[in-house]
Amino acid sequence: MSYCRNIPWKMKGGFHLVIETERIGSNLVVTIDGELDLETSPEFRKVIEEKLDSYKTIRHLILDLKKVHFIDSSGLGVILGRFKRITQDGGRMSAVNVSDQVKRIFELSGLLKIMNIYPDRKDALDNC
């Protein structure tokens, strides 16, 4: 099992987003801490895209949303974009620790129907 970890990454400007990525075998676990909106989403996309570009063996993207205090359609757009990429390559995407508020946003957008939701990280990894 290979392992790699990012040092927290900090947005310039008003509000902060910290993204940590962790590679566990063919899984990429992305932990997001902060608010996913128009300001922070471009960096969220960039971090995931870079990881997917550099580790070609990744088949399963797991988003840990425990510390996502806010998400709107800009954040959702980035999640849906990553969902498309990973599933086109034959992989899968899951989300864990999804709050009621985030779940509602996923539901309204239809994402809840196509993405796997697990209570926690262990459940998601067990289902790989």
Partner: protein, 149 residues
């Protein structure tokens, strides 16, 4: 009758989206909204201000005006830009419709879902105004229950 208002003006830059959310949430907390309702308001504001940043002023930084009003049981939010405007409002409101390929066309849908009322007024080359209203669901009655012994 309880009454308050707040008028704001700021430039259409991405960092002001979270800013507007925080201000509106603080203002809305004067009324008897639940935390879940405040979250809904935060999403609606975030979408409306994001639209000013992305759509109203795609190639420049423009002015966004935000007006908040609390009148008794009602929160009214008015967001105005002086940008490119919307030619076909019915089309814009459709889910998944977006003039930007990367976007999902869900902003206006969220605004309608999360607020009690939403009105969109726009004229190409003049700008867009969104008026949204929301009442605390459990009403304002609780506010009069001052607990003291």
């Amino acid at each position: 009758m309880f009454e308050n208002y707040l008028k704001l003006e700021f430039p259409s830059i991405p960092q002001n989206v979270s800013f507007a959310r925080t201000i509106v949430a603080t203002f809305a907390a004067q009324l008897e909204f639940t935390l879940a309702e405040i979250e809904e308001i935060r999403v609606a504001i975030s979408e409306a201000v994001s639209n000013c940043v992305i759509h109203a002023y795609p190639n420049e930084v423009g002015i966004v005006k935000l007006e908040l009003r609390a009148e008794d049981q009602l929160l009214t939010i008015r967001i105005q830009d002086f940008g490119i405007g919307i030619a076909d409002i019915e089309q814009a409101k459709q889910a998944t419709y977006s003039t930007q390929p990367e976007r999902m066309g869900l902003g206006l849908v969220f605004m309608e879902s999360f607020m009690d009322e939403m009105e969109l007024i726009s004229k190409p080359a003049e700008g867009t105004t969104v008026v949204m209203k929301k009442r605390p669901e459990r009403g304002f009655a609780n506010a009069e229950l001052s607990r003291s012994s």
